[in-house]
């Protein structure tokens, strides 16, 4: 899963799948056709930046503990941005 990560991260595959699903649900991340990995990393980074900016977190475009912890919080299912 093309999610930009801190080098020291300890996320499992399951964590990354959760994060991707979260961005798809709330930040309109579009599933990319297989094989277009490079572009999707940028898309993922830009969606992470959108989320971090929305919640006033440090905008890194990378999945870090703070961002992931916030993703785990109970919330409304309506997207935070866009259509």
């Amino acid at each position: 899963i093309p999610i930009p990560l801190e080098d020291s991260h300890e996320f499992t595959e399951k964590d990354l799948q959760f994060a991707e699903r979260y961005l798809r649900t709330h930040y309109d991340l579009r599933p990319n056709p297989a094989g277009v990995m490079k572009k999707s990393v940028n898309t993922m980074a830009s969606k992470l930046r959108e989320m971090q900016e929305f919640f006033g977190l440090e905008v890194t475009g990378k999945l870090d503990d703070e961002t992931y912890e916030l993703m785990r919080k109970p919330r409304c299912g309506v997207p935070d941005v866009g259509e």
């Binding site: 649900t25 709330h26 929305f54 919640f55 006033g56 977190l57 440090e58 916030l70 919080k73 109970p74 919330r75 409304c76 299912g77 309506v78 935070d80 866009g82 259509e83």
Partner: protein, 368 residues
């Protein structure tokens, strides 16, 4: 606050709602009451009226469901997604769905149905999510306490931009979220916590990371649900890795997110006079191991090692800290300086030379 694209809204003020089914977590009457109360949150501040119908198609159809429940936006089991709603419009428009894999309650247990419903009906009326962590329309759930809910100002601004104001607002004082660069900013308390600085104001605190300029604004209850919505004072004892928070005659000891067993205690158990009503500010001096407590125009010194109030106190603040005024809102230590907050000003006091060396704006704490 935010709106949906094309600023979707209802073109009429008389709206209907229908409760299609019920959760088994609450009695029907409790569910009815929660939804009615949730609609009143919005009708109190707009010309909108909500009428319940029990058959046919209502503008806002309310239902409980789990996982895939018919709208291609599946729920996800316990926690995570709690509910969702659709912006104003025909058919699905305005409808609100609640995940019945959640434990719904009418108090702090599980998820409070009234609070979630009031949020979802905000969507049904045309509000998108707000970035204001104090707003009802903030996307993350926080139980804001059992005292009467008052719609925050951010939400009122948003909904009134769509529908205008009503003529019967029973609670016109809607809580505002503090602005960190407000020139008149005053504080309730300041403490360190494991290297971060926490700055308390009303029901919020800002988290200041040493390496970051931007402070993150957080609802107090989203970290510590059992704490009151506003505190008087706080300090960290780094040796014990505990933060103490004070409100009125009570003190809580916190280890990270957790409240230490046997707390809250009464402040007189620390050695304060029984008639003491509150503490205004507190700071732990690392070098001496003493904690200073400020109340009114006096201050006390507490020996953390011996867990006992030092003899010869209280003393007048003016005698030791001349010039900071006879009241302290908050105080913290940084290197060899104490920073005393009094309204919109902070006084930088040199511990070494025992005098004030600078007077700053309170909001300069946030690089404003």
């Amino acid at each position: 606050y935010n709106f949906f694209p094309r600023k979707l809204k209802w073109s009429k003020t008389n709206l209907t709602y229908r409760i299609m089914n019920y959760t088994s977590d609450l009695r029907r009457a409790e569910v009815d009451r929660a939804f009615k109360k949730a609609f009143k949150v919005w009708s109190d501040v707009t010309p909108l009226n909500f009428t319940r119908i029990r058959s046919g198609v209502a503008d806002i159809m309310i239902s409980f469901g789990t996982r895939e429940h018919g709208d291609f936006y599946p729920f996800d089991g316990p926690s995570g997604l709690l509910a969702h709603a659709f912006p104003p419009g025909p058919d699905y428009g305005g409808d609100a769905h609640f995940d019945d894999d959640e434990a719904w309650s009418d108090d702090s247990r599980g998820y409070n149905l009234f609070l979630v419903a009031a949020h979802e009906f905000g969507h049904s009326l045309g509000l998108e999510h707000s970035r204001d962590p104090g707003a009802l329309m903030f996307p993350i759930y926080t139980y804001t306490g059992k005292t009467g809910f008052v719609l925050p100002d951010d939400d009122v601004q948003g909904i009134q931009e769509l529908y205008g104001a009503g003529d019967k607002d029973p609670n016109p004082k809607h809580p505002k979220t503090p602005e960190k660069c407000d020139p008149d900013l005053s504080l309730d308390a300041v403490t360190e916590l494991r290297g971060e600085m926490l700055v308390f104001k009303d029901r919020f605190f800002w988290r200041l990371h040493p390496q970051m300029v931007e402070a993150e604004l957080v609802l107090l209850k989203s970290f510590w649900p059992e704490l009151p919505n506003k505190i008087d004072a706080a300090y960290e004892n780094p040796v014990k890795d505990l933060v103490y928070m004070f409100k009125g005659k009570k003190v809580w000891a916190l280890n990270g997110y957790d409240i230490v067993e046997d707390f809250p205690k009464k402040i007189y158990e620390m050695g304060f006079p029984k008639e003491m009503k509150r503490i205004d500010a507190a700071v732990h001096i690392k070098d001496t191991g003493k904690t200073l407590f400020f109340t009114g125009n006096k201050y006390w010194s507490y020996d953390e090692e011996a867990d006992v109030m030092d003899a010869g106190y209280p003393r007048l603040i003016e005698d030791e800290f001349a010039g900071i005024g006879d009241r302290v809102d908050a105080v913290y230590q940084r290197n060899d300086y104490l920073y005393f907050f009094n309204g919109p000003l902070q006084f930088e006091y040199s511990i070494w030379s025992r005098r004030i060396v600078r007077v700053l704006h309170t909001n300069s704490l946030f690089w404003c």
